[in-house]
Amino acid sequence: MGDLIGPLIGGVGLFLVPSVVIALVFGMLWGSFAGAMPGFNQTLAVGIVLPFTFALGPVEAIAFLVAISVGVSFGNSIPAILVGIPGTASAVLTAIDGHTLHKQGKSGLALGVAYFAAIVGQFVSTIFFVFMVVPLSQLAYLFLAPELFALTFVGMTAIISLTGKNVIKGLIAAGIGVALTMVGPDPIGTVQRFSFGIPELRSGLQIVPLTLGLVAFSEILRASRQAHDWQGLVDGFNAKFPRWSELRQTVPSVLGGTVIGTFIGAIPGMGGTPAAAVSYQQAKMFSKHPEQFGKGSIEGVAANEAAQNAAQAGEMVPTFGLGLPTTDSMVLLLAAMTIHGLVPGPLLIQETPEMLHAAVAGLLGGTLLILLIGWRISSLLLKVVTIDRRLVLVFAMALMVIGVYALRQSVFDLYVLVGTGFLGYFMSRYGYSTAAAAIAVVLGAYSEAYLRQGLNLMRNDWGLFLSRPITAGILVVAFVILAYGIYTNVREGRSAKQMVSEIAKPNAP
């Protein structure tokens, strides 16, 4: 039990460190600000400030980035309720019920329920996070190179199979990520590969510009297709916090959403949006008033908000426990760790327990700050919607450039950022998952090293390598997930084809 309580105490203990508190305050405020801005997702919120974390210590950097995630999940509900525009995709269902409540003159009730659900969801899921991640990390010493290879393999296949509409494109996207890690010295004999005599390529491509380019810079390019803002849509509000008797009705939905959010968030490729959707459906199923869902249900708002907030902690379970990022924002979190010389993997928590403390501090500190100032800053966050989105996009792009330059003062890294941004734009538009590519960038280099080291360890015998029970078990899981992905792709393809033929039938001569 001490192993489980220790990280919680360690995280709370960081509240006594002024630099961590400052990082938490800025992280939560920036996250809430970014979350409140429609079209500005968590990846962008983390991506823009990621290079700046080089100026922080590793503990402050992780606490800061985690607090941003907490802030985004809270902030995105405010424009969803008051304007009907979800700050991020996970707040879509909040927008439906919450905005209906706002139009019925119940803005305070909707905002209060969202605020209550966010705090409970974040707080309870932090405890779940610790109780799940600590036992997982204790398995670390069972893992040798073959098992570590299998883990990186399952990390890549899971996100491909569970997220994309086309498994082949998902596999190619992950392959592109692995290919980018092949530039420079090979991980065993340090033989140069694909460096073409270019001095900057001899040490390989840096993870931060690669991942930022693939998931964040490309997203800004995609967003720049739409030059618009939401000025004029926003009017002021004067909401009163709801009474406990009103909030009490939402407790089952909040708790259900928290559990669902944490567990679905922990599945690679899932994250807050599917967690919120499943939680909403579950709440509707068990509600005494299912007819109100979609027409201004406070239970709907509560279930959605609790789940999308709890998913933050869920996403961090495989990220911290096994070194497997499950979403693109988690890839950026691991990339931030590499800036500080940390190696993502199952040994992360065992070797640097302060990283777990920092994550707990980020989750709990962010939640505490929402509890203290979240309600007061709601009206301020509403004003964020009126900030010209075009200015934000351009400044975000310029900040990303200067941030990446600041890391090593290398113009070459900027070419990598802009180049992978271009690549990522086409990949994301045409169904090649940039998240899978970014995850492969982080895991790819380690994956090859583990495979070859593992084979050396097993006297170059594939049979010995593959027959290790844990390795075999993990690889079987990976192939089952891959087979499931292919099966769902084929099934969806067939049903789409059937739908097209049915639509075409009446027009047939």
């Binding site: 700046f52 100026a55 994309g164 509409k165 086309n166 082949i168 494109k169 190619i172 392959g175 592109i176 692995v178 290919a179 092949m182 090979d186 065993i188 004999g189 033989v191 140069q192 590969r193 694909f194 810079f217 390019l221 995609r222 720049s224 297709r225 739409q226 030059a227 618009h228 010209d388 075009r390 200015l391 996009l393 351009v394 792009m397 310029a398 450039v401 200067i402 330059y405 600041a406 003062q409 113009v411 900027l414 070419y415 950022l417 802009v418 941004g421 271009f422 734009y425 086409f426 994301s428 538009r429 045409y430 169904g431 090649y432 090859e448 495979l451 070859r452 084979l455 050396n456 594939w462």
Partner: protein, 175 residues
Amino acid sequence: MDRRIDVALALCVTALGIFIIVFAQSIGRSPVPDPIGPRGIPTGLGAAFVLGGIALVARRVVRWRHEGTYVEPEGSQDDAGVPAGSARRALTIWLCAAIYVALLPVVGYLIATPLFVAATLRLLHFERQPLLRVPAIAAYPILYTLISYAVFATLLGIRLPVGPLRDVFLTLTGR
């Protein structure tokens, strides 16, 4: 989703696979022998790209007669309910970013940044009231550049490229 671009991208994947396989053969031998070696993963990956690319092209070609030019999208979509521009704007902004990066070491941060910010704002049809009598398209880029320079160069101590302003800085700082 334009199926012609989809096919072109699949062909690019195939070409990338061939490129990787060809160049993998020129990778040297490792001093630490192992059954995979430094060429193994690139060669395997290249082959997978070739097969994957061909499979994607074949899938489109088989359905070519039954599908229109625009097929069901498989990638990320534009925000619903808001008019979307063409890919040209996104690519022009990307080009601006590439030129900005190329100019940065030549003309320096203080000159390249406001030009980049102003150009991209212009591309996004940014229009606002003048700020302190300075037109918005100039005021915001200058303000951003000065603030970001102050934060990075002064507070964080990052040496940003100054380009032709080097002599001015040397005179001002006496170094």
